[in-house]
């Protein structure tokens, strides 16, 4: 059984819980840092990144979340979650958790009236993934170590760096669970690798 948490400080938590739910995944709604210890993977949901950051600081999640990701446990961020993970944010002095070697631009497609949905090819996931973009950010630059998984209109909208997965859009607002299944597979592999290394040592 895999235990995957959804960070529940603010935002679309319920939708991720629904998308992750499967017979071999136990989904946890995470509101306290103590809950991180038991998890094999973690999702940063969509929401308002500035609000989430304030609550991350207030409830002392900052270092535990960095520790979680730096320990090699998989993390998946959508929209605001992607912003939390990025090393650099355009127009801000520094990124939030700085987990991933990417630069992001917030609200890059414009305001709500410019928000849209489309289908995308996402490498390793599918060629017709339903994607809902809401006041979405984009990845303006990705480091050498980062695998670009999807582009829209020439801009990077999904990427993976080892155990870290991030996308600009909201797979959790659709009935298309393939992005989540891809992440669950990342978590499964990570857990098996960790178990193997435990056996060999």
């Amino acid at each position: 059984m895999l235990k995957i948490g959804v960070l529940a400080l603010q935002g679309a938590v319920r939708e991720h819980v629904r998308c992750l739910a499967s017979p071999d995944v136990e989904v946890k709604v995470v509101k306290r840092i103590e809950q991180l210890d038991e998890l094999d993977g973690l999702v940063f949901p969509g929401g308002e990144s500035t609000t989430m950051r304030r609550l991350v600081d207030k409830y002392e999640f900052f270092e535990p979340l960095q520790y979680f990701a730096n320990a090699g446990k998989p993390v998946f961020g959508t929209c605001a979650g992607l912003i939390l993970m990025a090393d650099n944010i355009k127009g801000s002095p520094e990124g939030h958790l700085r987990l991933m070697d990417i630069d992001v631009e917030r609200n890059a497609f414009g305001r709500q009236r410019e928000s849209f949905e489309t289908t995308l090819e996402v490498k390793g996931v599918g060629d017709d993934i339903e994607a809902v973009f809401i006041r979405a950010p984009l990845i303006s630059n990705a480091g050498n170590d980062v695998d670009v998984l999807s582009e829209y209109d020439g801009e990077i909208v999904a990427a993976r760096q080892h155990h870290l997965l991030a996308c600009s859009f909201h797979p959790e607002l659709t009935n298309d669970a393939r992005m989540h299944q891809y992440f669950v597979q990342m978590v499964r592999e990570s857990k098996e690798t960790a178990a193997d290394s435990l056996v060999t040592t």
Binding site: G46, E48, F116
Partner: protein, 294 residues
Amino acid sequence: MADRGTDRVKRGMAEMQKGGVIMDVVNAEQAKIAEEAGAVAVMALERVPADIRAAGGVARMADPTIVEEVMGAVSIPVMAKARIGHIVEARVLEALGVDYIDESEVLTPADEVYHLDKSEYTVPFVCGARDLGEALRRVGEGASMLRTKGEPGTGNIVEAVRHMRMVQAQVKKVVGSSKDELMTEAKNLGAPYELLLEIKENGRLPVVNFAAGGIATPADAALMMQLGADGVFVGSGIFKSDHPDKFARAIVEATTHYEDYELIGRLSKDLGTAMKGIEISNLEPEERMQDRGW
């Protein structure tokens, strides 16, 4: 191909606001205080509801200068209010680029018969409701988000509680009804039958439902969350209090951790005076904003 203004895009925007606080502001300075405190969005207004109440006369859409000033000041979404049924105010706000329009009973209605056909707009709408019938009529017209009406500008939570409990109880009843009972329920509620079927199938409202109208303290915000609100609007409560920034932060935290009573106790200390508030029974019938719209 990119599709704008679809239901998923419009409703999804409201889903992202869940667990958050949307604050009324009247200028850039207040908007920045709200953003800094952790608001998920701000509502740009010319006057907060308590001042609209005090001023009397006709309340209209805010001066676009104020809306633009607020949009320029913060990176979180900006909402603005249009009068019920005022097609042109709504179109103007959409053209300005606001992220959400509140077709609001806080302003003087422009049309006493028809609400806006909100499905025609690219921008999403939030509307107030006292019960499930009203809520689903608004969703039927294209609203992407709901809120209780409460009694705005009173600092008195009782009406918001009434409306939230009413909607929750009616949703439960629909979920527990058999399909053959739903057409009669649709007739009784004055609600679209298809939406009742959708509620029965999914076990919940088709869009998020926030609390609004009378929230004045962190405990009020937490109370509404416990009653099932997806988030809260705070109008006059914050900038009519003694220490708006402290108040704003406390309300944001109480909304996140609405079941942590020790925390809410700590948050409620030394906040200074909350807004004074009005006893609902002291309002004249024509002063009741919640009775505007149908």
